[in-house]
């Protein structure tokens, strides 16, 4: 049976006193019955007695009836409450439909802000909040050989230590030896990244083959020609042929001379298998114990405790004296993986949150400005007996309906954006999304949370104006003036403090976003305009390595590099070819070398840090790095000749400030052979995040490396030259392959990709914020003009000129924006430090950027004030006076 609906007015009269009602009802009955009995001849006392007896158990009945009435009223109040909510929602929807543009713009504003915040949180969630996709992810740690992430000058050599000692500290150790393999294909060979891995690689990281099997115990015990390949390689080279298991493939290890050429594929990894590094295409079993880069803590043992125990065990095993400041350190695997991108993520999320607050303030401001229009409606409701709480509930419901709509739209759009553009994120940030691109999508739980918190936010922004409106409306209810249409009581409709506070908040937050965007813009500009020191255009590059099976020693590697260079040079399309390790952008970042001169070192001076490069003589020509003094490397500087180096200008002036660098002698810490400086070359731009280091170049024939980048200058588009370069390498040795082949400008782009991404995101946020703040200021000033029409009219009537009127409005605008700017500057000074590590060529408190943003905001504010000012000067005194 559905609950019955009551007419409220009737109810209001009836609910007065239920307990008394039951008594009254019974008394009436008894009186009537007694009167009837008296008519039948009983005396009054006897009649009353009989009536009472006939009635039965009156106390029980009274109790029962009262309980029933109470229960009825409880149920009634519940339905009344539900009715109110339903009614409020109906009224809210009706109000939105009455002013669709207002509702639309409110929902759109909040919706966009929530969508951006959802996406930003989604990215942060994927990297920082959600654990890495490893079992016991909270116990997986990276083992560092230095106390900090920065290079440690006097780190001892840890070679020769039997790392099985780590078993006494950790539950599982994960060891790997990174390697590059040439996969010899039917038509072309391919260089792929891989590793020799310990059993812990599979158990601790939860990685296992999807097809085939893992390595057996005996395969980890003695070298056997077996390999597990990645799903990606399986697809590229074998077209996902399931018969690959048990078949042999021809691969060559870059690291190991004894690496077998014919190996049996025993397994293919799962497509979702994810590791913090990219060396996953070919896995081979590691049969020796190595330093463990990763380990799993024992349950219950803290990271600090494990670190202390590790140091206590390792330190005595190191021969010679050890710098007392040195120690090995442990860091959570997730922290280690994300520490470089953390500032970007914080800036991203912070920007989104501030934009959300600005959007909220903007909506609250708009609601407040509507106060004048709503006041009449609310006063009527108050006059009809609605309590202030009831009216606030109504306004709050309106805000909730709008916010819920916006939050739903925002969550859907934000979730869709993540799903669509997810794969871009990893590339832009320079660190793959943990667990793969597919893991970026937000779960239903988080989306529900977004909708819920968005609604709460909307309610808060709806509540402020609601309180203010009702206070004003109820207070002035008796005057009746407002029902006539907004005349009189001009200053009372909304709290000026609230309205102004909202504007100041918007301006201040907008200022912060603009400053952030400005600083990142300056960073991009600084990176883009800092001379590379070499010419990256018209150069094609490819990473190569010489498999140690066929290039086991320095002589073979030297010959191999020469043969490759000759083959490339023989192609008429190539204008020059060179080899360097690492590439000029230091994609494989190495710890800086410490350069020592024959004047030192003093005990305190452990050498000057410099980035070491191994290059061939033509390198400076191909890269167009100017030779400033001395000479370039020559063919005669071969393995038999005395060792030579070339230093960059900055290293030269740092080491020999008052004399020529050419002819000086240097060596690198940890190396006893001295080398003479034969030349000085121009500086090249260091990686954006590296500590600034000058460069030192070694000659490849004297220090052959099996792993290097091949660089060739071409006449036309370097992209067209890719196949030419690949063919040339195949001519030199048809078992050699290359990885990451393409124009060198790819690396130029990559060097600033993360900064550009952050700059673009912050710019979008800042522009949206600026738009909202300007709209807010405009609305606020226009409202002031409307409210002060009478005052303006009187001033005009008594002879104020138009400039006085203009300044009246302008003063309000200038005051609001001025305070907003001051607060904004303060907040910016406090918060830009968070992105300091992402800045390049500009300080977090760069006065130029601050000044420019103040000017930009001031100018925008002026533009926003123009329309209200014009409106004020057009006030016609006669009309206004008559209107009253």
């Amino acid at each position: 049976m559905p609950p019955k609906r009551y007419r409220p007015l009737f109810r209001l009269g009836f609910t007065r006193s239920r307990a008394a009602d039951v008594d009254d009802e019974f008394q009436f009955h008894l009186a009537m019955r007694a009167a009837e009995l008296e008519r039948h001849g009983y005396d009054a006392a006897r009649a009353r007695e009989i009536a009472l007896t006939q009635f039965g158990d009156i106390n029980d009945a009274r109790q029962f009836c009262r309980a029933e009435d109470e229960r009825r009223m409880r149920e009634y109040r519940k339905t009344l409450h539900l009715d109110n909510v339903r009614q409020d929602i109906v009224v809210a929807v009706r109000a939105m439909r009455r002013q669709p543009a207002f509702a639309f713009s409110t929902i759109l504003t909040l919706g966009i802000a929530i969508a951006l915040a959802t996406s930003a949180y989604g990215v942060v969630h994927a990297y920082i909040v959600r654990p890495l996709p490893y079992p016991d992810a909270d116990r997986v740690v990276r083992v560092r050989t230095t106390p900090t992430a920065d290079p440690f000058p006097n780190a001892p050599r840890l070679a020769g230590i039997d790392w099985s000692i780590a078993d006494s500290v950790f539950a599982v150790t994960v060891e790997w030896n990174l390697d590059a393999f040439t996969v010899v294909g039917s038509d072309r060979s391919e260089s792929v990244y891989g590793a020799w891995v310990s059993p812990g690689y599979f158990t601790a990281l939860g990685l296992r083959p999807a097809v085939g099997r893992s390595f057996t115990v005996s395969e980890f015990a003695t070298d056997q020609p077996v390999a597990i390949i990645s799903d990606a390689l399986w697809r590229r080279q074998f077209n996902r042929d399931p018969s690959i298991i048990g078949r042999t493939m021809r691969i060559q290890s870059g690291e190991r001379a004894d690496g077998a050429e014919q190996v049996t594929v025993v397994g293919v990894m799962h497509p979702d298998a994810w590791h913090t590094n990219r060396f996953t295409d070919v896995l081979r079993p590691l049969t020796t114990r190595l330093f463990p880069p990763m380990a799993v803590l024992r349950p219950g043992m803290s990271m600090r405790e494990a670190e202390d125990r590790l140091n206590a065990i390792v330190r005595p095993l190191i021969p010679g004296t050890v710098d007392p400041a040195w120690r090995m350190s442990l860091v959570g695997v997730q922290e280690d993986y994300t520490f470089r991108i953390r500032p970007t993520l914080v800036a991203l999320l912070g920007g989104a949150v501030f934009l959300l607050l600005i959007a909220g303030a903007s909506v609250a401001g708009a609601q407040t400005a509507r106060a004048a229009a709503r006041r009449a409606e609310i006063q009527i409701r108050a006059a009809l007996g609605a309590s202030r709480g009831r009216i606030v509930m109504q306004l709050l419901t309106e805000a909730l309906v709008v916010a819920a709509a916006a939050a739903t739209i925002g969550a859907v759009v934000g979730g869709a954006a993540l799903a669509t553009f997810g794969s871009l994120v990893g590339r832009q940030l320079g660190a793959a999304i943990p667990g793969g691109d597919g893991r970026l999508a937000l779960g239903a739980g988080i989306l529900a949370l977004v909708v819920a918190s968005g609604s709460v936010l909307g309610a808060l922004f709806g509540l402020l104006p609601a309180m203010v409106i009702t206070r004003a409306a109820v207070k002035h209810q008796g005057l009746g003036s407002s029902l006539g249409g907004g005349k009189g009581t001009a200053r009372s409709a909304t709290s000026p403090v609230l309205r102004r506070g909202l504007i100041v908040t918007q301006v201040a937050f907008t200022m912060m976003l603009l400053i952030g965007a400005g600083l990142m813009g300056r960073t991009i500009l600084a990176i883009a305009t800092t001379p590379l020191g070499f010419t990256d255009e018209q150069v094609v590059k490819g990473d190569m390595f010489l498999p140690s099976g066929r290039y086991p020693d320095a002589a073979k590697q030297r010959a191999g590099a020469e043969r490759v260079l000759e083959a490339v040079a023989s192609d008429p399309a190539m204008r020059g070819a060179a080899i360097s390790f690492p590439d000029p952008f230091r994609t494989f970042s190495l710890n800086p070398s410490r350069v020592i001169t024959d004047r030192g070192p003093t005990p305190a001076d452990s050498g000057r840090p410099a980035a070491g490069f191994v290059v061939t003589p033509s390198y400076f020509d191909v890269m167009e790095i100017p030779l400033l003094a001395g000479r370039a490397f020559a063919i005669t500087d071969d393995a038999a000749a005395p060792r030579v180096v070339i230093v960059s200008q900055r290293l030269a002036t740092a080491l020999w400030p008052n004399e020529s660098a050419v002819g000086q002698r240097v060596r690198v810490a940890g190396d006893s052979i001295w080398a003479s400086v034969v030349g000085v070359v121009g500086e090249i731009r260091e990686p954006v995040e590296a500590t600034p280091t000058p460069e030192i170049y070694w000659h490849l024939p004297q220090d052959p490396v099996p792993l290097f980048t091949l660089l060739a200058r071409v006449g036309g588009d370097p992209a067209d030259a890719v196949p030419l370069l690949q063919r040339a390498v195949a001519r030199a040795d048809n078992l050699l392959g290359m990885a990451n082949v393409g124009p060198l400008t790819e690396l130029t782009d990559r060097a600033m990709r993360r900064h550009r991404a952050l700059a673009s995101v912050l710019s979008v946020f800042a522009l949206l914020a600026l738009g909202l703040a300007m709209l807010g200021l405009y609305a606020s000033l226009a409202y002031v003009v409307t409210q002060r029409r009478r005052e303006i009219a009187i001033r005009v009537a008594v002879g104020a000129d138009s400039w006085a009127i203009r300044s009246l409005v302008l003063r309000e605008g200038v005051a609001l924006v001025g305070i907003g700017l001051l607060v904004g500057i303060g907040l910016s000074l406090a918060l830009t430090r968070l992105i300091a590590s992402q800045l390049y060529g500009v300080t977090p408190t760069d006065p130029g950027t601050f000044a420019a943003i103040v000017v930009l905001l001031g100018a925008s504010a002026l533009i926003a004030s123009l329309a209200p000012i014009r409106q004020a000067t057009r006030v016609q005194p006669a009309e206004i006076m008559r209107g009253d």
């Binding site: 019955k4 009436f28 019955r33 006939q54 039965g56 009945a61």
Partner: protein, 110 residues
């Protein structure tokens, strides 16, 4: 739902009240007198049970109470049937008739 032990028969007092109120709105005393007269005293209703039944029916939404003034100018609570009560009366009457028929068939020798 807790039934009053003084009920004549399960549900029959409900039915009597609803039927009585189908003619016109009445106060509790009126209902009590009416039923007694209609049944020529065969059904003697305990007043306490009647009122408990009235308040329960009101809570269930079948009847609606309203304070009014009697012909003798006294303040009394008048009950009237709600649309839900009218529907319930129809349904309950049918059930009751079927019940009576069934009992009749058992008692009457064929």
């Amino acid at each position: 739902m807790a039934r009053d032990p003084h009920d004549l028969l399960y549900g029959s007092l409900d039915l009597l009240i609803l039927r009585t109120l189908a003619w016109e709105a009445m106060h509790g005393y009126g209902i009590s007198s009416f039923i007694r007269q209609r049944t020529a005293g065969v059904l003697e209703i305990v007043d306490a049970a009647l009122y408990k039944c009235l308040h329960r029916l009101e809570r269930q939404g079948f009847i609606e109470g309203e304070w009014g003034i009697t012909d003798e100018n006294r303040r009394a609570k008048f009950y009237k049937l709600t649309p839900a009560g009218r529907a319930a009366l129809r349904a309950e009457t049918n059930v009751w008739k079927q019940y009576v028929d069934a009992v009749h068939k058992v008692l009457e020798p064929t």
